[in-house]
Symmetry: C2
Subunit: 194 residues, 2 copies
DNA sequence: GACCTGGTTGACAGACCGGTCAACCATCCG
DNA sequence: CGGATGGTTGACCGGTCTGTCAACCAGGTC
């Protein structure tokens, strides 16, 4: 399953077959199908794995910044996702993209069940971010007229979009946080940003 | 080829086979392979098709706003891409995503040639937007400290990301321009926006 | 009519895909 | 020892995928 996550990231869902996953993990295919009802269920499990890791990482990033400034925690989260991507970049030697985003783009139109699963993941993520943005709004850190819920969505979209651009442009993961920071700052009160 | 574009959008590259495209277009497969060396070359042609349409649309959106305000033209472009998506939505009955983004996400890691082709498309797009953003900067419409080149990239990323979120969240294409407008406005001088 | 050329056709190849299955094996329990 | 139980294995199935090929056909030219 760890190897499946690796392969799906390095290539794509369609591009790696069950056979390949099994061989890479030194497992016989029959044995695989004893534990997973189908390939798409494996993907589901992989998603859950990534989700767990991501939530932990986000909590950590939020916690080390204390309870004080919601804005600081937003920035910390931006850095955290950037670091995750840089970690992937080191591991694979190239930019591999967001585990959710990749599968979402590839399977949203074909695999109903997986699609549903991914939708809840994104909703959860967006919810977490939205709470933080509302905190920031409550602390009067946001520009007037900036909708905190929309901001949460914008930030996730920004991350996903930058990943896609970075992947197609062969650029590095290091520039992703920069864009996120700029988007965050641009939504803050004048003079309150970086 | 028109039908190929349709099918790739409605489902995905991997999900529709050459057989299916041929049948839908009432063409025999052997005949198809007389004109296209491979399936991925068909995809390349499809991309070019979309690119041509997009450039035309963007030029049009920019032109109707005159040469005056670069900011107004940025907003017009945001609306234009939103309208394109809403057009797709009407045509297919669901959100199908950006033709470039979809293929990029699916094939960036597997098909080298196609990947290269997509990269130039995105570069072109980003270049066009960057020129506009620099105009806006020259007109002192941007916030101090806002990098116009980065802004161009941010806007494309925002569009791609919103599309992905909308696709996975079953939300409508109508909300995409709203996010783009907010991102644009947030980068403008205080009080100069919507 | 002979010939060539650009295009068409349907049958086919070969690989690979996700998924199945019956036999098999190790371990524990009585 | 006999028998469940939980897990393993490799052979195999049917379908689908991209891509190929030799025969064929219409139109123009000499």
């Amino acid at each position: 399953m760890r190897t499946a996550a690796r392969l799906f990231l390095a290539r794509s869902y369609h591009a790696v077959g069950v056979d390949e996953v099994c061989e890479a993990a030194d497992v016989r295919k029959g044995s695989f199908y004893y534990f997973f009802r189908s390939k798409s269920e494996l993907a589901k499990a992989v998603i859950d794995r990534h989700a767990l890791a991501l939530w932990a990482r986000l909590d950590e990033a939020g916690a080390t910044e204390g309870e004080g400034s919601a804005v600081a925690r937003l920035h910390a989260i931006a850095d955290a996702v950037g670091e995750i991507q840089q970690g992937f970049e080191r591991q694979f030697g190239k930019l591999v993209g967001c585990p959710f985003g990749n599968l979402a783009a590839e399977l949203a139109t074909t695999d109903e069940a997986l699609y549903e699963h991914l939708a809840t993941m994104f909703a959860e993520w967006e919810g977490r971010l939205a709470a933080l943005c509302r905190d920031a709004a409550a602390q009067h850190a946001l520009r007037p007229g900036a909708d905190p819920d929309l901001l949460a969505r914008i930030l996730i979209a920004q991350f996903q979009g930058m990943i896609l651009l970075a992947k197609t442009g062969r650029s590095s993961a290091a520039e992703i946080p920069a864009a996120l920071h700029q988007v965050i700052d641009s939504h803050l009160m004048e003079g309150a940003g970086a």
